[in-house]
Amino acid sequence: MAVRYCTRCVYPSAAATPLTFDEAGVCSGCRVALQKTQIQWDERWKMFEELVSEYRSPNNYDIVIPVSGGKDSYFQTHVATRLLGLKPLLVTYHGNNYLPEGEYNLQRMREVFDCDHVIVKPSVRTLLKMNRLGFKLQGDMNWHAHSGIFTAPIQVALRYKVPLMLWGEHGFLDLAGMYSMHDFVEFTAKHRLEHSLRGYDWYDFTDQGLERLGRPELKEGLTDKDLLFAQYPSDEEIDTVGVRGIYLGNYLDWDGHKSAELVMKEYGWRPAQQPFERTYRMVSNLDDMHENGIHDYLKFVKFGYGRGSDHACKDIRAGRMTRAEGIAMVRKYDHVKPRRDLDRWLAYVSMTEAEFDQICDTFRDPRVWRIENGQWVKDNLWGEPSAYGPVHALPRNWKQ
């Protein structure tokens, strides 16, 4: 099935998210963005206030807020503390990849918001192993981060018996329109495992797990106890405290761009101080340099697009960019191999670039990529195909 593109934004059909298209060729992400303009937000806010009031506690934290220290985290905490007067417990998964600006923002949260803050920092040795394994097994060195981000908050919520988690926007709802704004989608173990973690869970990364997967050559010597930070609690444990996770994006007109302006002005939040290699946006993913770097480069390797597309889609839908301007961003950024970021990661995990390139190619998606004259070739959003570098290895299930 050939890759198609949304006629309004620049999103491709072969996406990392479960995108769909309507009869006019408009993607589900754009359709949900349009739906947002028709919501009665004052009613939603009332619903939110009522929902939260059931969780106000006389002697405990009222809510857990999962935070990375980014603009969205500041905005969630701003809403919780300043607008609602709640006593939140902030929870962070720290994957050892913070940019200095991101670290600065993170550490300041307990000062500017006067909040308690739990930061979960797994062992660096384990993280190195998880970086390598995530990359080799799933084509994503940041698998550990998705796992930590979607596990640490509920572990802490259970430990402190706080039944409400306040997430920001729902990533797949916002970017891909996976759900409707009328669904009031909540945090689920299923979404974590199936979409955030792509079906893999912590137990696949131990030596035993890799045996079971038929990938014993990847073993790093990890045991169950090394991965306590990634172990999701059982339904029974969750039900005992009654923890649920709601998304603030269902209750107010979420706009990350505006949130960034607000938190810079109100709280001295700092955007990136030097440009990213793979996107023009300076306010996203400061908590993990690889998110906008080689993690995202793998998205290009797999699916043929990247953060340039993601961010252009958001800005087109918000009316800050025309589609033509968006396409220019895609052309400029999506294919870039991020030198600065790649060098850091290769040194961090002790891997050569040749090995990196070879493993990358095992994840090429055949719907996107073809081989011509020893080069990886794909069709482009703007029409004519291009070659994007030499073939180093064939994907695991490549049919020619």
């Binding site: 479960p18 669904d183 989608v185």
Partner: protein, 262 residues
């Protein structure tokens, strides 16, 4: 008195589970088996699984997932029945007695017929004779006309039949089906609540169990369906949106004084 059942409906379209809205908009929810595993863990009463594909194209989506996609509906049925410990109703694209037999052999406890029940009603009677009424569900899609009248539609809510829901319900029972799954095209996926008048009027025209579906937006909606006369309450989308949707739904029913298996 039998306990009232709470039933998830999973919609399969071209190999993936989808969220549905007004039978027209379908967003991809994900893998066709994973959700069934969750329902097992929750000990769900029953499962209705409907294949709403209109073509045999399978977009496999990303292939870097741990669980690889399956590429035809009967293989998916095999995997679902291997996974699923609860009674399973399989529906969608069933046109002949052989289709019914094959699905029952592959592990479905019941089949749901829709278009075939209208176009070839003798199949309902014959299937009920061969496999028992308890194995034959007729799924009825009700379309809201602009003048306020309601009509039964077939072919995935696209083709009118000229029948009112009440006429068709009585006929379904006469043909020998064991249950009616009652859906409403314009309420589908809108979270506005059930069409209670429809549930009430259809339930009063037949003595076979009516399973109410379409429109659930909150757990509290379930009890209204039971009070309107349904024997069981079903929903599709909400099961994808909330954690432990079974427990949440059952507790809301119990709180409303309805006898359910907790």
């Amino acid at each position: 008195m039998l306990k009232k059942r709470l039933i998830p409906v999973l919609l399969l379209q071209n190999g993936m589970l989808v969220r549905s809205e007004e039978f027209r908009i379908h967003q991809v929810i994900g893998n066709p088996i994973h959700e069934v595993e969750r329902f097992n863990q929750w000990n769900v009463d029953e499962l209705i699984y409907l294949d709403i594909s209109t073509s045999d194209d399978y977009d496999q989506r990303r292939d870097d997932h741990r669980v690889k996609p399956l590429t035809d509906p009967l293989t998916i049925l095999d995997a679902v029945s291997r996974t699923c410990f609860m009674p399973l109703t399989w529906g969608g694209r069933i046109r002949t007695l052989d289709d019914i037999r094959e699905r029952l052999l592959r592990g479905a406890d019941k089949v749901a017929l829709n278009t075939a029940a209208f176009q070839t009603p003798w199949i309902v009677t014959e299937a009920a004779r061969q496999f028992g009424s308890q194995a034959i569900v007729v799924s009825m899609d009700v379309f809201q006309l602009p003048d306020g009248r309601q009509e039964v539609y077939i072919e995935g809510g696209r083709l009118p039949t000229g029948l009112t829901p009440e006429m068709w319900a009585a006929e379904i029972e006469r043909l020998g089906a064991g249950e009616i799954l009652l859906q409403h095209v314009q309420r589908d996926g809108t979270a506005r609540g059930y069409d209670l008048d429809l549930i009430s009027s259809v339930s009063s025209c037949t003595s076979i169990p009516v399973i109410a579906c379409s429109g659930v937006g909150r757990y509290e909606d379930y009890a209204t369906g039971i009070r309107a006369g349904a024997s069981a309450v079903a929903a599709a989308n909400i099961w994808h949106f909330k954690e432990m949707a079974d427990r949440g739904g059952k507790r809301a029913l119990a709180k409303a004084g309805i006898d359910v298996r907790l």
